[in-house]
Symmetry: C2
């Protein structure tokens, strides 16, 4: 049995990765275990950064802002991150992987193509509107991001969207609708819902129902 496993305390983070207490063994193995095992402190840094990137965007979020959220000075953050660019890419990757996992799990047993698409939409909307899973720094608007970073974000996002491309391909469409355009509009709608939705008049379920209705999905 591995040391980090026998150490007892182990938590499952929102995105499916393990969180373990910060001990020497873990610090030494961090690199070789890739991104799978994180210390509590690392998890804190990622969550704080995700929240700020999501709220203000890449350019308007400073390393010192992120540090302040977790009680560190800016420079000290570099013990946990390689660079601001790499941090953003990492958060984006983890958020999309977590979303993809949740969506694939939710549609695994669904046979009807319309029902599968409806379910995928509902789960993505849940993720985008969940204030706790601020883990989603809005997959759009890469304008303020350096070019070299943007190409990596776009590549990852395209992979994620393939899930929806497949679902849209299989689902029935209104007459004369281009499936590529439809998929883009649908995903934009789901991904930007957090910019306007505020709990109150409509519940999350009602918003989901409205979106499915506008997009002619029998859910």
């Amino acid at each position: 049995m591995r040391a980090w496993f026998s150490s007892g305390l182990r938590l499952l983070a929102l995105d499916g990765s393990f969180i373990v207490p910060n001990d020497r063994y873990n610090q030494e193995r961090e690199q070789s275990l890739a991104a799978k095992v994180l210390t509590l402190r690392e998890e804190e840094v990622l969550n704080a950064a995700a929240a700020l990137f999501g709220a203000r965007g890449f350019a308007a979020t400073s390393i010192r802002d992120i540090g302040e959220r977790v009680g560190l000075l800016g420079g000290s953050l570099y013990h946990y991150i390689k660079s601001k660019d790499a941090l953003f890419i990492r958060i984006h990757d983890r958020a999309l992987q977590a979303a993809e996992d949740r969506i694939c799990a939710a549609i695994a047993g669904v046979q009807d193509p319309s029902q599968a698409l409806a379910t995928a939409c509902r789960v993505l909307l849940e993720i985008q509107l969940d204030p706790a899973s601020l883990t989603m720094p809005l997959m759009n608007d890469f304008r303020a991001v350096p070019e070299s970073v943007r190409v990596q974000l776009v590549e990852r996002r395209d992979a994620f969207e393939q899930v929806f491309a497949d679902l849209v391909e299989a689902a029935p469409m209104p007459a004369g609708v281009d499936r590529v355009v439809y998929r883009i509009l649908l995903l934009t709608t789901l991904n930007t819902a957090s910019t306007w939705y505020r709990p109150g008049r409509l519940s999350l379920e009602e918003v989901a129902k409205q979106i499915l209705r506008v997009y002619s999905i029998e859910g």
Copy 2:
């Protein structure tokens, strides 16, 4: 007859304001004539700033970037602008006013509610996708903008969207669709089209037709 009128050369800018050659009379009267009469140089500055804000967002666009585009050093720009914040608000206001004017002119003679909504959508899409009228710094994503600026942008944008609110109110909807949600989804779709559309497979007219079809608008 007014001096600026008799000076002969007068151009109509994209957003409907007049452009006149830079002469002493004009410079002296600029303030009292409000924002209606602009020197060529001012127009240049606004267009360059609009293009950069639109391409990179507020936080990632520097005053020096804008200056470079018009052949000035950063500091020299302050002869034409009051502040970066004020510049952004001004561009946003002018772009929305120009869009509103074009849309209202286009739907003026249209009686059928569905036809009117379809026309408004087509014109807004044209504006958002016209590479020349980069005058539109994407009316969404105010995340990187200072709070004091954002409230002014939102206020102006809400006024603009009232045109669409009225059109959606009058138009027939699919059964069970909430008109407020519908309007938000429709406007988001039109306003973000420039983030994904590239001329090639589909023409602007085809994209418009697709959007109208997805949103069940008989155009």
